[in-house]
């Protein structure tokens, strides 16, 4: 989940220069990030006056001119190929709070996308990113599309099938999720025309 923060800076009484940050690591992070964010200054889209450009040059002391074309693209993509060990270790609580699992809330009725990982006869074993996979019957319509690797849409019922039987103190789990197959998103089957 991307968090976009706007920070305004005032330079010698001129109008504020807006900076757009991509994610938390940009704020916390290193010198290179600050350099890159400076080159993306003025997201507001207002026409820059000559005095503003001069000011921009003086504020970003390291870079004398704003990057464009190849230079800009190179700096943007060097961020993406940065090794994971260079980034600070994200805390578990933060990861959990911003995970899809938390965003889901009550799984009942929620539509998710899954991938077919196994096909056994008429049964499709679909993994949608939860703890367990769900098992659905292969529909009669577009039967050929449902192969291993195809992406399908599901309506979740339960993330885990576990209930207490009469007289028991503990529940018994089936180690399986429960979902309804809605349709296909993308199939790996190559239709021959």
């Amino acid at each position: 989940m991307e968090i976009i923060l706007r920070q305004t800076t005032f330079s010698a009484g001129r109008s504020p220069i807006f900076r757009c940050f991509r994610n938390i690591s940009d704020i916390v992070g290193s010198q290179t990030n600050k350099q890159i964010s400076r080159s993306y200054s003025d997201v507001s889209g207002q026409p820059k006056s000559k005095s503003e450009i001069d000011n921009n040059k003086s504020v970003s002391g390291v870079e004398n001119k704003t990057m464009s074309g190849f230079g800009k693209a190179f700096e943007k993509f060097s961020l993406l190929t940065r090794k994971p060990l260079d980034e600070p270790d994200i805390k578990f609580a933060t990861l959990l709070r911003h995970s899809k699992f938390m965003q889901l809330g009550d799984p009942q009725g929620k539509v998710v996308e899954g991938k077919i990982i196994r096909v056994v006869g008429n049964d499709l074993y679909i993994d949608f990113g939860g703890k367990f996979e769900c098992v659905c019957q292969k529909p009669l319509k577009n039967e050929r599309d449902y192969v291993r690797g195809s992406r399908v849409r599901l309506r979740l019922q339960r993330l885990e099938l576990s209930t207490k039987f009469l007289g028991a103190t503990k529940e018994i789990t089936l180690r399986e999720a429960d979902a309804l197959l809605v349709g296909i998103v993308r199939t790996l089957f190559e239709h021959k025309f």
Binding site: D89, L95, P107, G130, K131, E160, S162, K170
Partner: protein, 258 residues
Amino acid sequence: MIRTIANRFKWNAARYFTQTCSINSDASLCQNAASLKVDQLADIKESELKEISDPLKFPDYFGVRKLFRIKDLFDARIHYGHKDGTLDPNMKPYIFGSRLGHLIFDLDKTAEMLQDALNFTAHIAYRGGIILFVSHCPQHTLTVENAAKQAGEYAHAREWDFHIFTNSEKVYNGVTRLPDLVILLSTLNPQMQEHTAVKDAAKMCIPTIGIVDSNSNPNLITYPIPGNDDSPAAVQLYCNLFRDAILLGKSKKPMEVY
């Protein structure tokens, strides 16, 4: 300690000997090369010599801490537990919380315990111990057996024979060497009961490392690792980590064979 001092004398003696004879010939060229190496060896600090002699004195001699990060555990879905109704009371300290009935493991605690377990595995492998991977989940048999094969160790991912550990001499018709470490990828069998290996390893005084899910009992396991044991991604990650820890342990050759 005495052994290291003796080595030092040996190296210093060699250096003295090579310096006295400085004739230009093939033999002396080789000796000069050797003397260069000896010089370098003699420059090693005493603290480094201590490191070579006793890996147990260090908290993370093999660097198992670098094998994983919390983000890797998170992406492999290790924080997912079962539901509230199947919770074993002994697992309560390791649970972060419950989200609409679904339990979540505290990955900070899991990471710490996983580090201890991997460190222990590496030390056992370093000393030439036999490691047995055990799992009874049919879904993960291939993953577990492949990991054991790659690590050069053993796996038992099929139905457990009751007398393998406790009556091994009768079962195998001879004196058998039991494993020095048992790694359980799942402490439950398909009938949702505790795997026999847990009890038997404890009886035979074999240390165990076990992945305990929220419905398992961690009491008899030496190094329990609270986490998900059902998702294939999670089991794949554990197998990779244990395999890497074993290979790390084996890569450093011990000075003496115990």
